[in-house]
Amino acid sequence: MNLNEGERALIISINGSLEFKNFLLSNGIALGSVVTKNYSPSYARLINFTICGKMLSLNKKDFDLLDLVKI
């Protein structure tokens, strides 16, 4: 789902490989985490969001593997 800048969402499911899921866990991202989208300039192919007080960026294609529900 597309989030606009400043919108918050809950992670309800994570698609992708086992390696990807473990990678997210090591970054503190799991089901039930709340993310707030900050920015995603087209030149960078990255999405920056706030989670647990830190501003984290993921590749756009990786971020798209998260199923989100706006809150």
Binding site: L31, Y39, A44, L46, G53, K54
Partner: protein, 654 residues
Amino acid sequence: MSEIALVGKPNSGKSSLFNLITGLNQKIANYSGATVESKVGAFHSHKIIDLPGLNSLRTVSAEEEISRDQILEYAENKSPIIFVCNGMQLEDNLLLFSEIADLQIPALLLINFKDDLDKNHIKVDQSLLADTIGCPVVMMNSRNGDGVDDLLKAINKKTFSIPNAVCRSLYDEFEGDSLVNKYADRISNFAICDTQLDQDDFFKRQKIIGSIVRNCISTLSNRQNFLASTKKWDRFLLHPVFGIATFLLTMLIIFQAVFYFAGIPMDWIDLGFLKLSEWSRGMLGDSWLGNMVCDGIIPGLGGVLIFIPQIAILFFLLGILEHSGYLSRISFISNRLLSKFGLSGQSVIPLMSSWACTIPAIMSARMINNPRERLAVIMASPLMTCSARLPVYTILIAIMFPGEDSGFFNLQGVLLLGLYLLGVVATLVMAYFVNRRATVESTDLWSLELPVYRIPNWRNVFYNVYLKTKAFVIDAGKVIFVVSMILWFLAGHSPKSESFFEKELATAKMTNPSISMDAVKLEYSYAGYMGKLIEPAIKPLGYDWKMGIAIISSFAAREVFVGSLATIYSVGSDEEDLIKNRLEKEINTETGERRYNNATIISLLLFYAFALQCMSTMAIVRRETNSWKYPLVQFVVMLVLAYVSAFIGYRLFL
């Protein structure tokens, strides 16, 4: 002396704390069996070790693995740790703390950036938190030292205690009749994957940490305001147009500043060594010792120490970028551009570190998750312009554009920036080919944390400048001292007799009346023969046998070049002079023109831009890739590139 390790996530202020408590009483060491730098220092009677930051014990990068293994060793020995926690990211940092707590290591929790918590009216119930997690909690601000006395008291009273376990029981297994805990085994061998267990573990941690944070910390929602100003700055600094323009302008200012501010102190150092040489000559006379000191050691060392101002300024400015939080934005901005060359934004920090020195840059490539990208960075980063190239570039540019050093923006700075850009382009092209050809596995998973913008901690910036400049001077100084002595011997001694020299001088004076006896002696010295041996190979590049000697000697370390030239021209001249003046006065006996004309200088600049003249880099590449194949390929490819481009450059500007 008790040993205490500082453990924490990146951007937790761990290194600020380390610099604060150890001052300049620190040194850089390597972990046993691995080439990852660790900092060791002393704080009162305690030995403090600064471990590299890690996000989780479920490690992803090779660098984090080193940190994890050290923590496991601490767990086994029950050695105490100080867990440094970023006060503004408590939940996230406590997740890592809980993983370490399950290893049952005696610990002390240090909540850093107390000032940020105060400014945002976030209150931490220290005693409740200590009771809940089962170990002492100290709050401080590592930037200004507020609370350091509390830390000292806690350390001296040895209040470290084993924290309450969080998920340890999930890893209990029966072996026969006894219950054995497998948590440490699981952490040390994370390749054994069990997603369900990992998820259960994480959910439980998240739940417990969430509840601890809610109970012990008030008004955590104020954290949003804390990030607001950073987000405002990012709107400009990550803007598609203004952001990229700001990045390019920052780079231009850095390289202009390297020339503009360093000129005067460099002249002082050069003059100081000239006076020292004259004074030593007066004291020691024309003895062999006098010649060795005045023609060998002093010019050789002066040839390196003269560049301290430029190197210090470069480290200072790069330090500001790093400590202000802007360096991570450069990773963000460059991600897409780098992806066209098979790299990603995470390669930016190792590549930019190469501007200081390739060796730590290659070691820091361990932070890259993708093995193929890591190999590409290792293979390509020696093409970035390291600080050892700076002495060569600056002396040659100063001869090419004499008197162009008046304003802040000048041709010298522009050419220097051009050479740095050339290094970047060559690096990217090399990375592209390595990515295309390499057969190692590849994954493109990576994350990038953007830290909040801060006024740089000047103590950290200056410590960084001091330690890195000191390392440059000591490492380069050792090599240059030895090379200068050998060169002085080879350039000052000859298999020929005095009568031979007199005959040669008389013959040479017929074509060149100003030639001196010293110049004739240098030509027929052992070094002269060596230079002449390779002269046919380097003549197409515009070099003579004297430059040949300097090039041969600089294959050990490229910064030796200027010191070698200083020694060679010092031995071959009967008067003292500044290094730059000596090179400017050198005449090509065949054409009667300046030896260091624009064509030769361009050729030399290109040769030094591409040639791999650093034995330490080759050794570290072998170590990191575990094979001689890669450094050898690297050496040959870069040498061919250097030779061909120097040849083309010389012919174009002749």
